[in-house]
Symmetry: C2
Subunit: 304 residues, 2 copies
């Protein structure tokens, strides 16, 4: 039977500037992408905070996709988290132009009682001490996947390293893996991540796909060849949400299931980047996603 | 039964400057890498030219690997082709610091009679009119794989486009594919390459692996995760030589064989980059190469 997934992270407004166009005040945040991705597989339990400016229409979008919103706090004292980012001409790098923490500044995630026994947890990108605070509230030993970003590697490396020891799976992109380990070689970086104490690690590398580091060895899934790249924002959060969503849906975390989850995560992330915000992720539908998984298998596997 | 492979291209001396060290007057050239890679699978028939400075010890290296040297001309009137290249800190880009064409300036490949019926041909990177001149001398309809570089796309695009129409398979790297098609998207670039008239195309993309464009669709093989990158020179030529060598060894060019050839080509190229020049490619041995193919299958395939 499928298990729910507790997902903590930001729910935000973004301004996104790409070489082709600009999206203003669009729905963003690691938990938004994570929950919508996870919703293809099982019930996401969203833990986060939004401010007094948050459009209830977005809450309806989450509810329509079956997201459990009991853990989403609406803080009337301020505005929602706000981020402005700009992509380079080739989409390979991005700059943060503005961050307003707003209600996130004082946020301390409180896990509702009936989330505390959830066996699958996604710690979306928020400060590592908040990620740890979530784990402190959980009962039992859930399977925990976490993201982080360069900001926390720079500012809070020691707290982050403490958190990493508690993880089942760290998901991190190639640049951040190099930054965290000091090693630009993907195999060496993966080895060093494993030495930091998580059970497993995944390094995502854009066009070069994702690589799983597991005590039994590596597994590589190439990127889905996207024709219509519009906005890479949220690809990593989508990847993590879909990955853990798949595992929760089969209630398994063995190596074979992890490999399959990589294909689902890669396929789902390829949907996210084809439109601004969560738009394509939200509306693509299970059939489009499964079709993409099948295509990814077809273009990578010798035997069907 | 395995067929021989006619391989035309440069046999050269290289100076290679990498972030870690420098190799001086080392064996290089597209045909050198192509032949040594191909020699793992079948007999390469080398067509090229070297000058009066070429060390006979290198000829012995080729002979030891079973390379047929009947088509290698030794031109006493000048020196061998010479190239100096320098890699960036992350090995992702390289600059040509010096080219001396030397005996290559007046070289016109002459195909020995007993090479003319070869059913597999690799046109290593030389001027496209010379590549075409080789095809003019062949009898029958061989399977023809060709490489090119940015130089010919800049200087001789029209002749190159005429040549491409005659190819079974164009192998080109990601930047060159973008330059030739004007499209940075890999899927679109591949589609446009196919419209130029070859039967198939492969775009190689370093860490992102190789992607085959075939009338029946795509196939992707990720890069082998190399720990000890020393010198990427010759990776593309090794890829092409190994690819066609495998096909010639099974005397097949169906889609299943092409997919398997991608794994062999990727594995063999990963050996080349682990040392300067052809050194590791030459000495690794069949067992090391097969082990790497097996490892590549293990880290990419759900079913063995």
């Amino acid at each position: 039977m499928s298990s729910p997934v507790l997902i903590v992270g930001s729910v935000a407004y973004d301004n996104i500037i790409t070489p082709f166009s600009t999206g203003k005040n669009i729905l963003g945040g690691s938990a938004s992408y994570g929950c919508l991705a996870c919703s293809y597989f099982t019930v996401p339990q969203l833990v986060g905070v939004v401010g007094n400016d948050f459009d209830p229409a977005h809450l309806e979008r989450f509810e329509k996709r079956g997201v459990d919103l009991e853990g989403l706090k609406i803080d009337p004292t301020g505005k929602s988290f706000f981020w402005t980012g700009e992509y380079s001409e080739d989409f390979r790098t991005r700059k943060t132009l503005e961050i307003q923490l707003n209600v996130f500044e004082t946020f301390k995630p409180v896990i509702p009682d009936n989330y505390k026994k959830s066996r699958f947890v996604m710690l979306g990108n928020i400060a590592p001490e908040l990620q740890g605070h979530v784990l402190d509230q959980m009962e039992g030993s859930p399977f925990v996947i976490a993201n982080t970003i360069d900001l926390w590697i720079n500012l809070k490396k020691r707290i982050l390293l403490d958190l990493i020891k508690r993880l089942s799976l760290l998901v991190i992109n190639g640049e951040e893996a190099a930054q965290l380990t000091g090693d630009h070689n993907i195999v060496e970086a993966g080895r060093k991540l494993m030495e930091m104490g998580p059970e497993m690690a995944i390094i995502t590398r854009g066009e070069a796909g994702a690589i799983l580091f597991h005590p039994e060895g590596l597994f590589v899934v190439p990127a889905y060849p996207v024709v219509d790249l519009r906005d890479p924002t949220g690809a990593g959060d989508t990847f993590a949400g879909s990955f853990i969503g798949y595992l929760a849906s089969v209630s398994r975390t063995d190596l074979d299931s992890l490999k399959k989850a990589l294909f689902y995560a890669t396929a789902t992330a390829s949907l996210t980047v084809e439109a601004f915000s969560c738009d394509r992720l939200e509306t693509a539908g299970r059939e489009a996603m499964e079709k993409r998984v099948a295509e990814l298998l077809r273009i990578t596997q010798l035997k069907a």
